[in-house]
Amino acid sequence: MEKNTSCFFSNSSPNLVITCFVAFITIILVRFLYVIYRTGKPLNKRTPQQTLSTLIVLGSGGHTAEMINLLLVLQKDRFTPRFYIAAATDNMSLQKARMFENSLADSGVKGISAEFMQIYRSREVGQSYVTSVWTTLVATAHALWLMIKIRPQVVLCNGPGTCIPLCVIAFIFKVVGIRWSSIFYVESIARVKRLSLSGLLLYKLQIADQFFVQWPQLQRKYPRAHYVGCLM
């Protein structure tokens, strides 16, 4: 009997570990498939008074201008608190976002809640793709840190590479149950015939819940995208 008991103990620990591991992997896989299934499906109806914490990804060049153009027509009392993230080397974007939020306060909008953060860049314009691997890992770790703090319910992005780690982490948060979010991607107005790299990744990986394009040529090429005309 004792021999059987000792055999049981010496065999059960690795068995237990393996069983737990397999169970864990199965749960993650099921969650993953569930998230894929639910991505792109509209959420249940809600009351107009409900608020959704919103992450807004800004980018150099026209990206921030386009994003602010979109924010002008979104209800500020619904999409709040707002968290703006821009790359660390992008000096103007957060300034423009602050000016936008200030203008809201000046025009009498009450209860404004906005935070402004910088994130390490995955890749600088012109940086070699080899060194980009390391900088992308650093950027991803930083993105994880910021996302754990913010845990947004809505993610708005329109093209800069900074949005990729953030969107991937948002997706992972959905899988592991940390926070369910709706990810909206608006491809830049500058993209007429070809998607940007960020757009292509989010489209192919089906991470974005809704993918918007501003020119009909892109809608023909990428049928799952919504053609919404020029926003600017």
């Binding site: 959420l43 959704l52 979104l74 103007m92 007429v192 070809r194 809704q210 600017m232």
Partner: protein, 179 residues
């Protein structure tokens, strides 16, 4: 265009902008004699160059000697005022500069930066040029574009609207439709 009553010339400013980029090729060609002569010939009096992160410095000029007055600066937080007071805008192909200019109804020549890798910017400039909202040019052909352009043939750009996107986002999130 031409002389006002007191013999003081009406200012017609050409505003050149490279946005937040470095685009020495455009700054250089805008400052070259050929282009300046062509602009002067077409009735412009002042050339103001926003040169961004470039390293080429244009030669300032008061224009007293019967030529274009030339001035430049690197950045400003908003170029809206410069755009508003311009009679012609020559811009890099950045979407921000392009649409800010078109929304103000200013005539626009977009110059595509051929040194940029993966030049997606040219797609937008070419599409808008096809729709006759602006002229599209390259640094080396800028003076020809200026010489041959007919600004009256440009079609005004109707500003876009972000409300369709907002509606779709709200609908997706389950918010009720607004009236």
């Amino acid at each position: 265009m031409g002389e006002a009553r007191d013999g003081v010339k009406v200012k017609r400013v050409v505003f050149v902008t490279v946005g937040t980029t470095c685009f020495d090729a455009l700054v250089k060609v805008a400052d070259c004699q050929e282009v300046k002569d062509e602009l002067y010939r077409r009735g412009y009096t002042d050339l103001l160059i926003q040169m961004g992160r470039g390293s080429y410095l244009p030669a300032k000029s008061t224009g007293d000697d019967g030529s274009l007055a030339v001035d430049y600066f690197t950045f400003s937080l908003s170029i809206a005022d410069h755009l508003r007071s311009a009679s012609l805008v020559i811009s890099h192909a950045g979407s921000g500069s392009i649409f800010e200019t078109l929304q103000l109804g200013k005539p626009l020549i977009v110059v595509v930066n051929e040194d940029l890798m993966d030049n997606h910017q040219s797609e937008l400039a070419e599409e808008l040029a096809e729709r006759k909202h602006l002229y599209c040019s390259r640094p080396l052909t800028l003076h020809q574009t200026i010489a041959s352009m007919d600004l009256n043939s440009l079609v005004p750009y109707t500003p876009g609207d972000a409300t369709p996107v907002a509606k779709l986002i709200n609908r997706f999130l389950g918010f009720p439709e607004e009236s």
